[in-house]
Amino acid sequence: MTVLPKPLAPHQPSSRSAHVRTRLVVTVLLVLAALVAIYLLGSGDVQVSPGNAIRAVFGAGDPADVLAVQQWRLPRVLSALLVGAMLGVAGAIFQSLTRNPLGSPDIIGFNTGAYTGALVVLLVTGSSAPLGVTAGALLGGLGTAVAVYLLAYRQGVQGFRLIIVGIALSAMLTAANSWLILKAELPQAIGAAQWGAGSLNDATWGSTLGVCVAAAVLLAPCLWATRPLRQLELGDDLAAALGLRVEPARRALLVLGVLLTAVSAASYGPIAFVALAAPQLARRLTSASGAGLGAAAAMGALVLLASDGLAQRLVTGGTLPAGVVTVCVGGLYLVWLLFREARRT
């Protein structure tokens, strides 16, 4: 990596150089993601050279290559890229809204609730039909998010109250989840825990198309989101003075963040840590002070894609969920960045 992280101390570089730097970082991240994607498209049981892999994506070349690349690998790679980007943006939105580096969609309980919903379907009703699990996850996640918002509402939703209500409700659901896991038969419990870690093993064109549509619909409003986010970071009063209608804006941003998370949880299970780590990593590379949605998206895409590739190769047979690796990869990278930062200052 040629881009060096800057100290965490919230210094404000002149806005032009910060802009250039952010653009550079986003470009480098996207190029890296593209390289990893091409590698992943080409490697596996059927080896395809990078050039042929790119041709095969567009349906040209050896039919066997086209089958492997287009039908087997492309959906998974696309899903990883898009879901990673959406999680990165969701995390950036939540961290900025709560002004807390630990802020992630998880504080509003979405993933925990989604896990509860899926566990109820998997372990209590005993069905493992993907559609049922998806519905359970969505219902559980959205229900929890709405409950957290309503319980935190009191003439507006203030960041601190949202955090406390979120962790309280999440703690209850986590307890319920571990009780369900504890009381289930061992094989079912392991299967459920695997779903809970988040895995791209079941990525098909069907699920991937859904993700593509969701990404198109949800990532477009994010272009609008940057401005109100910046204003809210200044504090409610100042944001209002700048002409922002604080509560509606915050509600819209929360809904956006929750929906971005929901796509991932509903399609592939709650993939952990991307939403938390990607914005932090991106911020350290760009040394920007605020929410960099674009950089967070690019970082999220790269982290999830690389993690999923690793998960497939570390343990053959595809039993290792990508979510287990995202946690390790994202975590180790963050550890390394922090370590360097600490040595420099």
Partner: protein, 323 residues
């Protein structure tokens, strides 16, 4: 206030000794406590009830104090004792103990958990910058990052090994059941040492709450305070986790409640937490024993269900303040 809280704690203690598989009245509890060895009452009270109550007291005290210190240190309302990686480290080493070394008794986990907690916190502290450089934000992020890595590996280990998964899911739902006094004696020195450290910290923590520069101006050694606080959290939370497994919510919730009750002075927050922690743990344990008889619900699960509604109700009140 503190007197009332102590009295309430005493009542909960008596309840915790009295209520169980067979109910014994408060008078019988007293008789059992002082009955000569060998009598039935003595056996019930001393062999099964008292050890559990003692474990609950120690665990609750340790978790609540650790939570109070870590919230004061990081000034982050999301911070719990687990934020320095204590739980993740303990769980990681326990998972290795189960999967690789084949340890299969709760007593065997104690030292694994302690070592895991200690090593992880030292690593987090070093990554966060060590003495003098570890800002609260960096310490928090380092703990979360390393904790996540360890949790991920733990998850990987257990997902690929059904036997380890089975053992681990039992350990990871923290419980007071099946712990004996010898285990308490093993970890008690750590708790005492941690509590003593906490006893000398509050004045400095109060100063640090005003920001590091102000603290320095007040003559507080910021680096040393931070190191002491991290050490105290490790000792307390590590010991509690070793004793009962991870109990997440107590250390997070009790200091918040204490702060809303008594204001921003760390001395009072920690004092009230020291009473409130054991109370929540023991109460949750008693409820867990009776709620689904003859089965038992682990204390960590009940504590979340008892504590969370209280926390939500209180944060909706007007005076609930941030850090």
């Amino acid at each position: 206030m503190l007197t009332a809280a102590l009295a309430a704690l005493l009542v909960v203690c008596v309840l915790s000794i009295a209520i169980g598989e067979n109910l014994i009245g408060p008078a019988a509890v007293l008789r059992g406590l002082f009955a000569p060895p060998g009598s039935i009452e003595h056996n019930i009270v001393w062999a099964s009830r008292v050890p559990r109550t003692v474990v609950g007291l120690v665990v609750g005290l340790a978790l609540a104090l650790a939570g109070g210190v870590i919230q004061a240190l990081t000034r982050n309302p999301l911070a719990d004792p687990g934020i320095l990686g204590v739980n993740a480290g303990a769980a990681f080493v326990v998972a290795i103990g189960i999967a690789v070394l084949g340890v299969d008794r709760p007593i065997g986990y104690v030292w694994f958990a302690l070592v895991g907690a200690a090593v992880t916190t030292v690593a987090v502290y070093a990554i966060g910058g060590g003495r003098g450089r570890a800002t609260p934000v960096r310490l928090t992020l380092a703990g979360v990052a390393l904790g996540a890595v360890l949790a991920g590996i733990t998850q990987g280990i257990t997902l690929l090994n059904p036997r380890a998964f089975d053992e681990f899911r039992a350990w990871s739902a923290g419980t007071l059941a099946g712990r004996y006094l010898d285990t308490v004696w093993q970890v008690l020195p750590f708790v005492v040492l941690g509590a003593l450290l906490v006893a000398v910290l509050p004045r400095n923590l109060n100063g640090m709450a005003m920001g590091e520069d102000t603290a320095t101006a007040l003559g507080i050694n910021v680096g040393r305070t931070r190191a002491g606080a991290v050490l105290a959290v490790t000792l307390l939370a590590g010991a509690a986790t070793a004793l009962a497994g991870p109990i997440a919510f107590v250390g997070l919730m009790v200091p918040h409640l204490a702060r809303w009750l008594v204001g921003a002075d760390q001395r009072w927050i920690l004092a009230v937490s020291a009473v409130g922690g054991p109370m929540l743990v023991l109460l949750a344990d008693v409820i867990g024993r009776v709620i689904i008889r003859p089965d038992e619900m682990p204390v960590s699960i009940v504590a979340a269900f008892v504590g969370a509604p209280v926390l939500i109700a209180l944060v909706r009140r007007k005076g609930a303040s941030g850090l």
